[in-house]
């Protein structure tokens, strides 16, 4: 009964969103109607939230008459994972995705007090999108389907690699990021629908966009961190299709929030900003389509279902093509300032926007090219890291140079290069010294890596100068911009160092034997078979002493879970400030020795730290009093 109530509330919410959407799009906008739309939407949201809360309760209370819960949860699971099992597969995660979409709309609805016309239209647009996705959920992937009359006694359990705190919070954070871009999208569409070029929609969506961007950044970072310690491959980024489809909206969103501030400050790039807001949300939707249609082979993809893929493709195409049609139709009416002054802040942001566009285009090509190629030439291909490195390294380095020169640029004014000779000269000087030192110290002449380090250090040194300058001369600096861009510099340096220094080797070793690797003295102490509550495991113990005489233990493990018979690798990681010692255990050979893989990963924590720092800068901006 309670399941049907939850189900029914979702259906009812769909109805209310349909009403809100129709009111907004097909009636003359009066104050009365605006209020009606706002209230209808809020009620729709509350119904949907109640429905989802009941669903969470169903999962916590092990209600296995719900088919979805029966196949993804288990009585043995801690409550935390019972809840996270909801988003461990397609139906539940889609449900969460939709609830989050409506949540953003709800906050927008209750917190925007001015701009009533723009607000009602935007709520209408959000409602229409919600109806489309709710119908998708209820028709093609209903999470409320029951097993009647007799429910199974226990559930089939969550996939063990997903029983992990980082992975339990990774999808929700990522989804909050993806669907958060519905706010700038809906506002841009409403702006086009209304057709009044004087409406300042850009200012309204600034903080919303940055919030969504921060969530997306954290979501991607959590995914990268999880993959590192859980999958046992080491590494933080694999250019897997699902990573790429998260990267595209992130790149577009980063370009968007920059272009947005140009539009706010000087009314330049207004058209481009609208196009970007459409692109960011479309790319988020495209991501949902790729993951959920199973069209591309990936570690992440949900089960292949052509119906779902077709519905999503249809609905997403309608959204995208309507937006683009509307955009082209209204293009002549949008007023923006023409002629960007050379060497102004706008000009630098415009150039870097072109770079962002190129990166997005390249990733899109990398993701879709295998499909196109197979269709045309009947030959399976894949696009891997070499392609992305060939594109990303030069473009990111170039963009960093433009960023470096733009640090002290002004809105709508030419940068005064003479005055800024000192900081530019000093940062270039220190960076060159750093790179020469690194090249000498680590005996490297890998040009791509050295240039990337250089690109990172010029940004860092340049901003250090800015910070000192502002402290000493009480000059105003934008703290959010300083933190976010220094984080980018740190990210470049950490990624470069990581690929310059990290090494790995597989060794085979017997119990009570010593092995030497890169100054590490490895002693295989013991291996034993353990019986855990839901798995059998073999756990090895290694004593390791590094070159400085520091000692520690590593215990890599291999588990076999009872419920699914799945084997997982539990990595053992020793974290030091600048590097990780990372160990996984493989199979036993006939002579009794074991294969062990050992990696030394440099600065890998700094990669996630810099990404987190970027997101932090964004969050700080949201809670600051700055208007834009």
């Amino acid at each position: 009964m309670i399941i049907e109530i939850s189900h029914f509330l979702s259906v009812l919410a769909t109805g209310l969103f349909f009403l809100a959407g129709s009111f907004s799009l097909f009636t003359k906008n009066t104050l009365y109607i605006s209020n009606l739309i706002s209230r209808t939407y809020s009620h729709g949201f509350l119904l949907l939230l109640t429905s989802f809360s009941i669903y969470i309760w169903l999962a916590i209370s092990d209600n296995f008459s719900v088919q979805y819960i029966a196949s993804h949860s288990n009585t043995e699971l801690p409550t935390f994972y019972k809840i996270s099992s909801i988003w461990s597969a397609h139906e539940g995660s889609m449900f969460l995705w939709i609830v989050f979409l409506s949540l953003w709309g709800f906050f927008f609805n209750i917190s925007v007090k001015n701009d009533q016309i723009l607000k009602s239209k935007s709520i209408g647009v959000i409602s229409v999108i919600l109806v489309g996705f709710l119908l998708f959920l209820l028709v093609t992937s209903n999470p409320f389907i029951t097993i009647l009359p007799i429910a199974p006694l226990n559930g089939a359990d969550i996939n063990p690699v997903l029983q992990d705190p980082a992975l339990a919070i990774h999808p929700p954070t990522l989804y909050l990021g993806y669907v958060g871009f519905v706010i700038p999208f809906a506002c841009a569409i409403s702006f086009l629908l209304i057709g009044d070029s004087n409406i300042k929609w850009e200012l309204l969506v600034r903080k919303w966009s940055i919030a969504a961007w921060a969530f997306l950044t954290i979501g991607i970072t959590l995914g990268s961190w999880w993959a590192y310690y859980e999958l046992g491959w080491g590494g933080y980024w694999f250019w897997d299709p699902v990573e790429n489809i998260a990267l595209m909206p992130w790149l577009a969103a980063t370009a968007f929030i920059h272009s947005l501030s140009v539009s706010i400050k000087s009314s330049h790039l207004r058209i481009w900003t609208i196009l970007l807001s459409i692109s960011v949300f479309s790319l988020s939707l495209f991501g949902a389509f790729i993951v959920r249609s199973g069209i591309i082979d990936s570690v992440h993809s949900f089960a292949n279902d052509p119906d779902r893929g077709l519905y999503l493709l249809g609905f997403i195409s309608i959204i995208v093509f309507t937006s683009i049609y509307l955009f082209i139709f209204r293009l002549p009416t949008i007023k923006e300032s023409k002629r960007i002054k050379k060497f102004s802040k706008e000009s630098f942001i415009s150039i870097n926007n072109i770079f962002f566009g190129t990166l997005i285009f390249s990733v899109m090509l990398g993701v879709t090219y295998p499909l196109i190629y197979e269709f045309l030439f009947d030959q399976k291909i894949s696009v891997g890291a070499p392609f992305y490195n060939a594109i990303f390294i030069p473009i990111v380095v170039l963009a960093s140079f433009f960023l470096f020169f733009s640090v002290d640029s002004k809105w709508s004014r030419k940068i005064n290069f003479k005055f800024f000779k000192t900081p530019i000269f000093l940062s270039l000087f220190f960076s060159i010294i750093t790179v020469i030192y690194i090249s000498d110290r680590f005996n490297s002449n890998n040009l791509a890596i050295l240039i990337s380090i250089f690109a990172g250090t010029i940004i860092i040194f340049r901003y250090i100068y800015e910070l000192l300058d502002s402290l000493l001369n009480k000059k105003y600096i934008n703290p959010f911009s300083v933190i976010a861009h220094m984080a980018l510099g740190l990210l470049l340096v950490s990624i470069s160092f990581n690929s310059l220094l990290s090494t790995e080797r597989a060794i085979n070793i017997k119990i009570n034997e010593y092995e030497e690797y890169k100054g590490l003295n490895i002693y295989f102490d013991d291996i034993r078979v353990l019986k855990n509550s839901n798995n059998d495991s073999i756990k090895a113990t290694f004593f390791i002493e590094d070159a400085k005489g520091k000692q520690f233990n590593l215990s890599p493990e291999k588990r076999r879970y009872f419920t699914r018979g799945q084997i997982t690798t539990e990595t053992a990681i020793h974290i030091m400030p600048l590097k990780d010692i990372y160990m996984t255990i493989g199979d036993q050979l006939d002579d009794g020795s074991w294969i062990v893989n050992i990696q030394i990963n440099y600065l890998i924590r700094f990669i996630w730290f810099s990404a987190a720092l970027m997101a932090f800068a964004g969050i700080m901006l949201i809670f600051s009093n700055r208007r834009a």
Partner: protein, 136 residues
């Protein structure tokens, strides 16, 4: 032609030139960095340069897995033709004889020297191109 129009044509041409050369550069680097996927049969009559990275997919032949220190060698088969693979390192948890595998590496003298060995996180996984042949 009036100067404004002339300038506009020049700027359009410049933008076109930049986009065309940019896109050609991207496509060029895409084409030179593709990993082609082959089954052992498709690999048989193809001449692949040693420095070209390829993917080979098939089933691990029963009884073909040999280990020597940290090296492993096995035969990948599509039940018509087979090819030997050598790899140094730990194979994935789901790697086993008689199940599907995809390796990424370089072909030299009828041996694939693998950089990566992938076994899908799915018991029912079949490498692409193979699902039909395995039915009989």
């Amino acid at each position: 032609m009036n100067p404004i129009r002339k300038r506009r044509i020049y700027s359009i041409l410049l933008v076109l030139l930049f986009s065309v050369s940019g896109i050609s550069l991207i496509l060029y680097s895409l084409n030179s960095n593709l990993d082609y996927f082959f089954t052992p049969t498709e690999l048989k009559d193809k001449n692949i340069p040693i420095d070209k990275r390829i993917k080979v997919g098939g089933m691990v032949l029963n009884g073909s897995v040999k280990r020597a220190s940290s090296k492993i060698s096995f035969i990948v088969t599509d039940y018509e033709n087979s090819i030997t693979v050598e790899y140094e390192g730990i194979v994935p948890d789901l790697f086993k004889e008689g199940s599907g595998v995809v390796v990424l590496g370089f072909l030299d003298n009828q041996i694939v020297y693998a950089e990566e060995v992938l076994a899908k996180h799915d018991e029912n996984y079949m490498p692409p191109n193979l699902d039909i042949k395995n039915d009989n």
